[in-house]
Symmetry: C2
Subunit: 449 residues, 2 copies
């Protein structure tokens, strides 16, 4: 989809809506794929959205609702008649339907659930928290008895009419509904039709517990290259299946959260432009204040060294340069370590190896920056003693920043705290206060203040 | 896999290797899944790795090599006899095999290619750059003629013996080999065996061009929830298929690169602990120097306002606090905007909406921080005039940081530069120099210096 095509179709849809021709608007949308339909839909005025949605094919409407944010979709549904809402929700995948129903007001919720054809599939999904494997799974999966033959299994697949698109793997269960194993579609087709599933399934299927964190599900699917992942309850009963497309959304969401946290704010719960100004402020002000308070330590350090500053005024000129460089080195280190933790490069290893690694890197970087800083200070017409102070201080600060940047995220990880808490801004702030202390201590020693 | 199990099996394998009992070592590894085997394998000494690999089932060895970094795998292969190497590579998926062969030295490369059973599949893959769709695709896919019946198609699948695990979708081609459409396995099974593929395929399949960036492939698969994506050449001929597991690796890789770049360094090409100290230094020193040079502007600004600083010494105490807070606000903003660009929340929208959004957020945050800073300055015993200066300056700096943090990444994106170039450190550095200028200008106005 090029932007030009999108603009063209959007113009067609808008023109049709202006003259209240919903059939034409629906016809213009129809040939697009669901994510593109949803994008266009988002550009329309609210009253046009409410008027258009029930006029689309319910399957298309369902696809569009699946693509929208849950709150947005719930708002839209509330503007429809209860029957129209039910007709659309019935075409949604059960996991998406459950998420959406969870956003409706209680009365509407009850009506929808009572009238839904798929209610047996949707109701159990309402019990799980959104960020668990249970909240991510769909209850629409094919569980085949292990005693079924391949011919039976294929026949069952033919009569099964799920709302989702495709089957990636086939799961076999025992008579208690417990997961017995899995087999890929290709292996299934390759065997004789009279063979039973029990004879050919891989009994050692990767699975996840219904209460596990959604990140654990994503980790397993990514690690073992799975297109779908069975979810079991405490008794081992197969209760759902997580598909790879939902996991990609989770990975994307988690990345966004990590990024925002590493940038020094709490993650937004919704897309950026849909987050109100006060919401964004609320997510940022906490860290800004906390870092501000920590940063006031710099004032205390500066007051403590007031005499030194007064006697050698030129020392002050280098303050932002020194602590800025230290913060940059710290941010470089912590971003690398945080990612190494996220992709499990540092798993099962102690503090020691990354610490030694960063000590060495810091020593080289610090040495190089020291030489550059020495030259720069001389160019500014500073005396050699002050230049030497600046050079030694910057080397020490860079090494110190690399140590902090490697140890703190690993420490947080050990304490089961998200390592992105050691954000770039947190590193700069810590290095600012401690870096000043290092600077003036070095100055005291070299300049004999 | 719990860590305890890993440690136990690792101990078994090591003990077996110590007494040169390769059969026992192989037997201990055998029940594990490939990624777990590869993890354990990585912990072994180099000579043990070389000795053990040819004694494993070639399929297992192939899986382990697929999991290792390409350079590591190539190093390992070089220690085997050429015939052993060929036997293992023949069991690898063609795309993984091609990546690995690309890492071998030319002589070994020629020998392997000449003796490979799968050479017809592997050779064409060597032509594509690693970070393109062509570099990511496998040539091992089933292209079925559009005139084939479903019964023929199923028969073809039964006789096909790929090295990869499973079929997600079926692609149909015309007589020139051009992509004609696709159909999911479930839809295929649901139709009568006598129906031809041409009658039931979706002719509007999402595809990617062989020369497209791998990120474009990832974007398409994520957006359209695809488990596999066909790759076509300039003539529309189906030349390969990208599977979702490879795309998840790409997403993970790109996230790591974005994180490292946003932290203020160039991305490492290899896992953190496997990157040598000088490599890490090389990836970081460039930005550190560039930011250092930019940061020297702060020295110039301070010199320019030397008279003001000398007349009101207490102004100096607030310098790190003010520019630190500005840098933090800027980093919060740029991280949010960069992610919003990455997930296409800001696509097809101008500068204006995010700029207005951040102006408003900045005004609220700046106002709040101004009040807090005013109180804090008074508590430090500063006079009201200086406290007012600090309050107004911090508000102005926060607003300015939010403007920079929103405009710069969008500008970079427009100029086709990766927006992570506006990293947290880059933001702090820019805000440091310009923030000082704002501070002393405000001081000049309020304190009439």
């Amino acid at each position: 989809m090029t932007n030009i095509m999108v603009e063209e179709i959007l113009a067609q849809v808008r023109a049709a809506l202006e003259r209240d021709d919903y059939a034409a608007a629906a016809a213009a949308l129809e040939p697009l794929r669901a994510p593109d339909q949803a994008d266009l839909f988002n550009e329309l005025a609210d009253h046009h959205q409410s008027a258009l949605l029930p006029r689309l094919d319910p399957e298309d409407s369902a696809d569009i609702l699946e693509e929208l944010e849950d709150e947005e979709a719930a708002r839209l549904l509330t503007s429809l008649s209860p029957d129209e809402a039910v007709r659309i929700i019935d075409e949604m995948e059960p996991d998406e339907a459950a998420d959406l129903i969870g956003e409706l007001e209680p009365e509407r919720q009850e009506f929808v659930l009572a009238n839904l054809e798929d209610q047996a599939e949707v109701r159990p999904l309402l019990l799980h928290q959104a960020d668990t494997a249970g909240g991510l799974m769909t209850s629409e999966f094919l569980a085949l008895g292990r005693r079924m033959t391949i011919a039976d299994a294929l026949a069952a697949m033919r009569t099964w009419k799920p709302d989702a698109e495709d089957i990636h793997e086939v799961y076999a269960i025992d008579r208690h509904g417990r997961l017995a194993g899995m087999i890929g579609m290709r292996q299934l087709l390759m065997k004789e039709p009279t063979v039973t599933l029990g004879e050919i399934i891989d009994p050692d299927a990767v699975f996840v517990s219904v209460a596990a964190d959604q990140e654990e599900a994503a980790r397993l699917m990514s690690r073992y290259d799975l297109a779908s992942l069975p979810v079991i309850d405490a008794k081992g009963v197969l209760v759902g299946v997580i598909t790879i497309d939902d996991v990609i959304d989770v990975i994307e969401e988690e990345t966004t959260e990590d990024f925002q946290r590493f940038g020094g704010g709490e993650p937004l719960d919704r897309p950026y432009l849909e987050s109100g100004i006060l919401t964004v402020v609320r997510k940022r002000i906490g860290w800004l204040l906390l870092l501000f308070i920590t940063e006031t330590l710099t004032g205390s350090v500066l007051r403590h060294f007031e005499a030194e500053m007064a006697s050698v005024v030129s020392l002050a000129f280098f303050i932002p340069l020194l602590i800025g460089t230290g913060g940059n080195a710290g941010s470089q280190t912590t971003s690398t370590i945080i990612r190494a933790l996220a992709v499990e490069d540092l798993d099962r290893r102690g503090f020691l190896r990354p610490l030694l690694h960063e000590l060495s890197v810091g020593a080289v970087l610090g040495g190089l920056m020291g030489i550059v800083a020495y030259g720069r200070a001389l160019l500014w017409g500073t005396g050699t003693a002050v230049a030497l102070t600046v050079a030694v201080a910057i080397a020490a600060i860079v090494i110190w920043a690399n140590v902090l940047g490697s140890v703190l995220p690993i420490l947080a990880h050990r304490l089961k705290i998200d390592p992105t808490v050691v954000s770039g801004p947190a590193m700069s702030t810590l290095v600012d206060a401690t870096g000043l202390f290092i600077y003036f201590t070095v100055a005291g020693l070299i300049l004999a203040l």
